[in-house]
Amino acid sequence: MSHQSDLIAEDIDAYLAEHERKEILRFLTCGSVDDGKSTLIGRLLHDSRMIYEDQLAAIKQESAKSGTQGDDVDLALLVDGLQAEREQGITIDVAYRYFSTTKRKFIIADCPGHEQYTRNMVTGASTCDAAIILIDARQGVLTQTRRHTFIASLLGIRHLIVAVNKMDLVDWSEARFEEIRAEYLEFANQLAIEDLRFIPISALKGDNVVEPSTQMPWFGGSTLMYLLETLHVGGDRAQTGFRFPVQWVNRPDSSFRGFSGTIASGVVQPGDDVMVLPSRATSRVERIVTYDGDLERGHAPLAVTLTLEDEVDVSRGDMLVHREHPPELRDRFDATVVWMTDEALVPEREYIFKHTTKQVTGCVSVIRHRVDVNTLEEQVTPSLALNEIARCEIRLNQQIAIDRYDHNRETGAFIVVDRITNLTVGAGMVCDTGAGRADAWDAEPTDTLTAETRAVSSEELATRLGQRAITVLFTGLTASGKTSIAKAVERRLFDAGKLATVVDGQQLRVGISRDLGFSASERSENLRRGVEVARVVNQSGVIALCAFVAPHELPRRRAREVVGDERFLEVFVDAPVDVCRARDARGLYAAADRGEIADFPGVSSAFEPPTAPDLHLDTTATGVDAGADLVIELLRSKGVLT
């Protein structure tokens, strides 16, 4: 197929060298019937010279015959309308079209069908980096426009290009274009869209598609094609560390045992410490094997084979990850589910869930609410019908290693398969890994155990030591000053003849919490262990000063329950992120900025400030000493020191 490049005839080797370096951009075209989607695709193919002359001659003839477009060639004819298939009832989700320019190879996901639009668009969008939202300039923003935009943002499409089409029919009016843009922004602002652009075009005449328009000198932006050729497409957009779902165990003979798969995110190097999930067995990467030789460094989305230094047990469906920043291992989490089949989704019914390279059975345990794709309104519903979208709780019969979909498109996505028909009936995106909820906090100890082992009562201890044994939780961002203040308090208490000890989150990680990483649920578990330790400390009559980031409200509340409300004080050690960043000698913020630490409170995940702390220390105003004094004052006022 000939596309525009004189190099082909003049210097084929140079042309091939140029072609070899191209990247792929996958994009989606969304529009309602007659918005001009086919015309636009035809225009892109035509103006990038992807059309053979005989095809062009044929459609010229056809256009002349039908006469619908006057002298203009009806480029929509180039794109198979798939009408015949539709009439035969053949299900078509997406038709893929291919073209390339001197800069990029493009894959267009073109979703036909109107009733089925949500299902089709979700399918098409799942593999795309960008979407073109077509608006007919005469009609402006319609219900469908909102729906398309919502689905694109739901599926994590980073670049949205709003193409206001048929500008020729509104006299190339700048006012009309601005009006549509303002209307669009009004609702798009509710959604998380990383990169949003607007272009006025005429697909039929070609204005601003490949060639700049001479009719709209008021428009200073670039053409659609220029955008498509220059949008940033990184190979890996995940905000998580290394993830490697094992697809195939490669064991040709007793001397070689490798784990084949596609790197879902992050970077891996020989010598890296890795952990196998769900077993948590650890080892180190030995080699990154490929047919073309071993690699020094593997990154997403390469298909490679890893060998490990130790004989650990690894099979298909397991995931290899770096030990520092693992995903969540969960069998219960929240996801946005799109239902794709006629038979409605029924909560508690068993389905197969395919996630990365693993299939597990489970169910949708709760439909929390349905989202109206047109208005974004949340509605209560007992079941979910075809093309409907809902936030649900998923409960599986085994744990899987997940990340939030907006952090990782590979480890945050799953499909739902009917156990009887084997059809793909739904698609899901993890929106809340359930971190910070339930876990060991809720686990019931075996009921044959008894916890009454004390010989000395707390009253006796309090009388002897002249203090009430309580737990103080210092919560705040990394480098806000929690540990320094806790230590200063410990010293003051000791000097005053009292006894206290610091239970520090970091210190725990060296020993009792050595197995934990820094995900939200692991932070929560570390806090749980910390306050259990504090409880024992309190039992011996000593005051426990707990210094933990503890970024989430729920685990903090659970901590209070574990220790007992009457013995628990919460101190919020508060400092703005940039102050903490400046104080941070260990370079943790910089590492989080580089994406090396996922879910870093203040950078890549939220810190939920305590709603009603017993003491709020603004450390930009008070130093460590003044802060410690305020804590001592608090203890006195609460009658802790007698």
Binding site: A9, Y98, W248, G595
Partner: protein, 302 residues
């Protein structure tokens, strides 16, 4: 986040390898349909990469109509030694016994009996549950909507109403006993990608793709190579030597040659890119029933 980017060919390669491994892992008895052509050559190369340093964990199947070019047979027969693959050859023996050939039976009937029926026999015989093919979506307009996993019922029929949506790269490989899938790992490749990949990876091809002096006769405006003495010559027909090559390879009496001097890959690619007609010139089978790819698919041909 890493900023490392892959070229489109590296990306396509990784994507195809992922599909090949996934099918090998999820299906009990996969097979690769090997046609000896360039797309098969790329598919085989990707498969070798997918399982390196191990061997290809499934057999290759060639459905032999007995009318392929001699060059193709030679190339095919060198594979097991060269690459250590398990190559199985299937012939429709009933068709052979009945003397089915493209000359007296016509291309449609010949293809149906020797190729389509032959393939179905082989699939039933070996009970394959997944068959890899090298088809691409850019091959023609109607393939644009094809899925990577294409489901077949127990009679190998394609049920258009029961195809599954494919999201992300999460393929649903759940099937019941007796059912099977056809898999197209190269769905997202274009013809140019295939050629360029062959060039970059130095993948061996049947020499017929390269221009050389070959004996041909002209019939109905198409150049047919006189590849062996089974070819009946019409009155007054004398083979002439011409510099020709083939764009697609099939049964020699059904494959039209094009006159060309392109004897290297860059020259072939150049000729292809400069071609002004979209006609898939040279593949007579397409002319027979231009209409219905769907029909062929329902019958079990790709």
């Amino acid at each position: 986040m890493s900023d490392a980017r892959l070229t489109h060919l590296k990306q396509l390669e990784a994507e195809s390898i992922r599909i090949i491994r996934e099918v090998a892992a999820e299906f009990e008895n996969p097979v690769m349909l090997y046609s000896i052509g360039k797309d098969s050559a790329v598919l085989l190369h990707l498969t070798l990469k997918a399982f390196h340093p191990g061997r290809v964990p499934f057999p290759l199947l060639h459905v032999d109509t007995t009318w392929k070019f001699q060059d193709m047979y030679r190339f095919r027969d060198s594979l097991p030694d060269r690459l250590g693959v398990d190559l199985r050859i299937w012939r429709n023996e009933e068709g052979v016994a009945a003397g089915v050939n493209p000359f007296t039976y016509g291309s449609k009937k010949h293809t149906d009996i020797m190729k389509t029926q032959g393939l179905l026999q082989a699939l039933n015989h070996y009970r394959f549950d997944a068959a890899f093919g090298g088809a691409r979506r850019d091959e023609e307009k109607s393939r644009a909507k094809e899925r990577v996993y294409s489901f077949r019922d127990a009679n190998h029929r394609w049920d258009p109403k029961n195809q599954r949506p494919e999201l992300w790269q999460l393929y649903n490989g759940n099937i019941n006993r007796g059912e099977s899938i056809r898999v197209f790992p190269m769905s997202n490749w274009t013809e140019l990608d295939v050629w360029q990949y062959i060039l970059l990876e130095d993948i061996p091809l049947v020499p017929l793709y390269f221009a050389a002096e070959r004996p041909v006769v002209e019939r109905d405006g198409t150049l047919i190579m006189v590849d062996d003495d089974r070819m009946p010559l019409n009155e007054g027909e004398v083979p002439m030597m011409k510099s020709v090559r083939f764009r697609t390879l099939g049964c020699y009496p059904l494959s039209g040659a094009i006159e060309s001097d392109a004897d290297t890959l860059p020259k072939i690619i150049q000729e292809m890119l400069l071609a002004k007609d979209s006609e898939r010139q040279g593949r007579l089978i397409d002319h027979d029933s231009a209409a219905s790819m769907e029909q062929k698919k329902r019958e079990g041909y790709f």
